[in-house]
Structure formats: C-alpha cells, structure tokens
C-alpha cells in the first residue's frame, strides 16, 4: 500500500491533478446515468409498478443470481447509454447550429467544473489532522461553486434560443427567470453559516471543507450539524436548490405538460443525454454542498465526527487508520449521503405536483427571499450577541423581536396565502 502512495507522490503535480480530475469526472458521469435509472425505478415503485426490469445481455444470462440485477434494471443503464450514443443525432434545419451544438456542452461544463471546489471526503494524516479530499482546496470554495454553477443557466437560455422554436424559447426564459429568483435566497441562506464559521480574529474563509471541520468539533454545539443550528436556512437552501436544479416541483424549464419538453424539445440522442446528465450532475453537486454545509459532510452522525470513528478503528487495529482506508471510508459516507439526497430529490418529485409559474415567482420573491433575509438578520444579531458577549438582555430582546416578527407574518389575516 505504501508503494502505491510513493508512486503517487513521485508523479508530477499537474499529472496528479489531471488524474484526480478524471477520476472525479469518471465517477460523476456514470453516477448521473445511474441516477436516471434510479429515477425510473423509484418512480415505478412509488407508483406500484415494477419498473424497468427486462434488459439482460445474453452473454451474461448464464451467471447465477444475475436475474436479481436484471430485476433491478441494472442493464437498462447500459441499454440507455448505448441508445443515447448510437441513435441518429438529428440537427433540425431551423436552428442556429453553432449555439444549438454549444448549449449541451455549456451545460456540462459548470456541472463538472464545480466539483473541483467540493471536498468529497477526508483522511487523517500522521499528525492527526483531518485533511479534506478536494481537487482545489481554495478558500473561496462556496463562492466558486455558486459562481460556476449559476453559469449553467446559460446553457438553458442558449438551448432555448438557438432552437428557434416557441416552446424551447419559453422554457429557456422561464429557466433564467427562475434561476435568478432563487439564486438570491440560496446565497442569502448560506451567509449565516459562514458568519457562524468565521469567528472574529480567525482567518476568513468560504471553504466548504472548513464548514465541515466546524461541524466536527467536540462538544454539544461543536458537533451539532448546521441543520439543527439553522433549520430555516437549511430549508431555504433546500427549496432554492430544488429550484436551481430545475427539479420538480420547480420544473418550469421542462414542464412537459405545457411546454412539450421545454428547452430541450428540439434535442435528441447524445445532445439531449448531455443535458440529462448535466441535470443530475447539478443535483449531485447541489446536494453535496447542502450536505457539506448543513448535514455534517463526511461525518457519519451528528456528534460523531470522522476523527472519532478513526480513533475507534485505531483501537480495533492500527491498519484500519491508514489514510487510504480512512479516505475511502469518508468518501463512502459522503457519497452515501449524496445518494440519499438524490433519493430525496426523486421522492419529492414523485410526491409534489408542479407549481404554476406565477406561484414559483411568488414563492421565490415573496416568501423565500424575505425568509432568507429575516433569517440572515436573526443570525447576524445572534452571532453579534454571542461574540460580543452582550448578555442576557440582548438575547431577550432578540427573542422578543423574533417572536413578534413571526407572529406578524403568520397571524396577520391580511396576508392571505398566495399559493
């Protein structure tokens, strides 16, 4: 095992980075495809159907127990992928060819680029420090993710516009309006988290790895995940995430019921497939960020950080604390959590019907945004009181203001529900 580590360390840093990057892409891409299959299966089970369970390549049909995989529809993944690659790739005559071809590529770029700033796991080095597994451990982490992932909307606009057809155009316009509306609440909802992390006197950071580190501290408040500390922020972030990734119930950009296929109506075969994988990659990155910020990243349970697990493993056998094993363990925990989030995405999709477009707008601007701002104000005040140690009187004042504001919002009969 140490030979592998040495070989790895002897490689040129650029080569190392390229290999790491390819490895991550090599995981994200198939996971995107697998999610599409999982979506079909989950939707089927929720609707009381067996779902795709037919495909079985004849050359593995003899393997005992293969029928279980067949029932799970695993081979449909290959069938779908093969279909996507080999079917005729139509290019409608009325489209703007350059931008039409550009759009799916533009969709993939942010989806795969954001991974660089997302830590995927961690290991404990000899000095006992927790080192995150990340492609680019930069301090602007979250900012990079937000900046790049919001570029994804350009692909939708490009696709909608270049298709030179009404439904895709409407889909593209809707997508852009929706993304702009929810981007705000999303960003505002994470500010309290970083206000909390960036204690005065410490080094300022927006790194996602730091956010996880913060949730792995000892003590009651230290080991608490942010979803418990800031539930409202977590909810706002999650709802905006659904909107940002164009998932149902915010499926405005596609909206099969009213827009045929939305922005990708004119697309087929691999170009359409790229949009599809990009959507799932987006979901994965989004849920990864949510998990890092609010669900403790690679820590298995609240108040049980990874380092504690490593201690336990070390008590069992010192071999188990090897960085590679710990890294794989943390990676497993993290990917497991991401897949769980993806399941939640599907679960919600097959539960909640699509909102109307005006409802989406109203919810974004009139509900989530004020909520996010109020949340930000509350935590800003709370953190100020905490850090400046202003005392009980201020806490009481904050509590009174919060209760009053909440009452004003929810008990006001004039504020008729818009939804």
């Amino acid at each position: 095992m140490s030979a592998i580590v040495e070989l790895w360390n002897s490689l040129h840093p650029v080569l190392q980075a390229v290999i790491k990057g390819l490895a991550v892409i090599g995981v994200i891409f198939p996971l995107g495809g697998a999610s599409s299959l999982a979506e079909r299966k989950v939707s089927a089970w929720m609707q009381g159907r067996p779902g795709p369970n037919r495909a079985l390549p004849f050359w593995v049909a003899w393997v005992p127990g293969i029928s279980l995989l067949q029932r799970l529809g695993v081979f449909h993944l290959m069938a779908d992928g093969g279909k996507m690659f080999f079917k005729e790739d139509p290019l409608p005559g009325h489209v703007n060819k350059f931008y039409f071809l550009l759009a799916p590529v533009v969709a993939m770029i942010p989806a795969l680029t954001t991974v660089t700033a997302v830590p995927l796991g961690a290991y404990v080095d000899e000095a006992g420090r927790v080192v995150p597994l990340i492609l680019a451990n930069v301090d602007i982490g979250l900012l990079a993710v937000f900046a790049v992932s919001s570029l994804g909307v350009y692909s939708l606009i490009l696709a909608g516009w270049a298709s030179n057809s009404k439904y895709p155009f409407l889909g593209g316009v809707r997508a852009s309006a929706q993304l702009i509306s929810y981007e705000l609440s999303m960003t505002l909802s994470v500010i309290p988290v970083f206000l909390w992390i960036n204690v005065p006197g410490g080094e300022g950071t927006l790194s996602l790895a730091k956010a996880v580190e913060f949730q792995s501290q000892p003590g009651f408040l230290g080991g608490m995940w942010f979803i418990f500390i800031m539930p409202v922020a977590a909810i706002v972030f999650l709802v905006s995430l659904f909107a940002e990734t164009n998932r149902l119930p915010f499926d405005m950009a596609e909206g099969e019921a009213d827009l045929v296929g939305g922005f990708h109506t004119e697309y087929g075969s691999l170009k359409w497939g790229l949009f599809f994988v990009a959507e799932y990659a987006h979901m994965m990155i989004g849920s990864a960020v949510f998990i890092l910020l609010f669900l403790g990243g690679w820590n298995p349970l609240p108040w049980i950080p990874l380092s504690l697990v490593v201690e336990w493993l070390g008590a069992v056998s010192p071999v188990l604390t090897h960085p590679i094993i710990v890294g794989l363990l943390s990676l497993g925990i993290f990917v497991g959590k991401v897949l769980g989030m993806i399941f939640v995405f599907m679960w919600v999709r097959w539960t909640v019907p699509r909102f109307r477009y005006d409802q989406v707008m109203k919810m974004g601007w009139q509900k989530l945004l004020p909520l996010a701002i109020g949340n930000l104000l509350f935590y800003a005040a709370a953190i100020a009181i905490r850090d400046l140690q202003l005392g009980v009187a201020y806490w009481a004042a904050l509590a009174v203001v919060t209760v009053a504001a909440t009452w004003a919002i929810f008990a006001n009969p004039l504020q008729k529900p818009a939804l």
């Binding site: 929720m46 009381g48 679960w347 539960t351 939804l419």
Partner: protein, 180 residues
C-alpha cells in the same frame, strides 16, 4: 339558485406548505414498499372473469362431436359480417353425427372485422359458438387474422354441455315420441 361557496382560510400548517409536503412524502414512501399493483403482462396473465367476451370460438360437445349444424344464424346476425360459413353435408361415415343433417364445411371468422359483440353466441341454437377467454390476437398478415374452422376448434376446445339436447331427442325418439 345562486349560492356562495364558503372558502375556508388555510390553517397555519397549510400556509406553511412544508408539513403538507411531508405528509405527501409519507404517503409516497408507503407506496414505495407496497407490493406492485401491475401485472408483468406477457409473463403473468390476468385472471379472466367468467362471462368474459374474448375471441369467438367453436366448441365440441363432451362426446367430441361438432356441435355446429351450419344453420348460419350467426353469420346472419353478425353485425360487421365477420363470419363466413360454407354449409356442407355430414359425411355418411360419421355415425356419431347422424343426428344432424348438416355441418360447416368451412367456418371463417375474420378477427379484423369482429367487434366482440357476442351476438353469435347469443343467437346460436346449438350453443356451438362461444366467446371465450382469449383476448390477444396478433398476426403479420391479414390472412393470419382470419380464424378458420380448425383454428376455431383449437381455440374453443370442449365445453361441458348443459342440456345434452341430442341425447334427449334420441331418447325421446326411442320412446316413440318424435316431438319430445
């Protein structure tokens, strides 16, 4: 009479919307673990209830005799004219069918025309034609979709006879009462 529908204002949990979504998610989660309600059709066939009107077939009586006497009533009643019968004599070398004068030489039902109305079964005086439980027919050509006599008997098989009409008639004749 005009009346006013009272619109109840939404409760707090309804306005918050999220509890409602969670309730919905509970329902879908329950369905996730429920057994499937669909059949995997070509492997598993649905149970056909009695009285089902499937493909019309010809049946034999429990003695293995052809029941149809080629009266052509079904041909006459069939609304889309799906049935074509060529009547023929019963051959002399079949003593077990001596009780009847005629039988169909050819009996074709064009399943591209049949509307599964069941009138042929209704009208048949011999209870020789039945709409049974075959519900899927497929073929590559139009000719394949025409069931001929052999196919009709193959599909129909033998059904238990409720009346034994010809046995009774024979018994009555033996008692010297031709009109029974």
């Amino acid at each position: 009479m005009a009346y006013v529908v009272e619109r109840k204002s939404l409760s707090l949990s309804e306005r918050l919307y999220l509890p409602q979504i969670v309730a919905g998610m509970k329902v879908t989660l329950k369905h996730l673990f429920k057994p499937n309600v669909t059949l995997e059709y070509p492997d598993v066939r649905p149970a056909i209830p009695p009285g089902y009107r499937g493909v019309p077939t010809l049946v034999k009586d429990p003695n293995g005799r052809e029941k149809c006497v080629s009266c052509q009533l079904c041909e006459f009643v069939c609304p889309p004219k799906a049935i074509r019968i060529t009547p023929g004599e019963v051959p002399a070398d079949q003593p077990q069918r001596a009780h009847v004068e005629k039988g169909p030489q050819a009996f074709d039902i064009d399943m591209l025309r049949c509307i599964y109305c069941g009138l042929c079964q209704e009208v048949c005086p011999e209870e020789a034609i039945f709409l049974q439980n075959t519900f899927s027919m497929a073929g590559y050509t139009r000719a394949e979709m025409v069931n001929d006599k052999a196919k009709l008997y193959e599909l129909g098989g033998t059904l238990p006879d409720q009346h034994f009409k010809w046995d009774k008639k024979k018994a009555a004749e033996e008692h010297g009462n031709a009109h029974h």
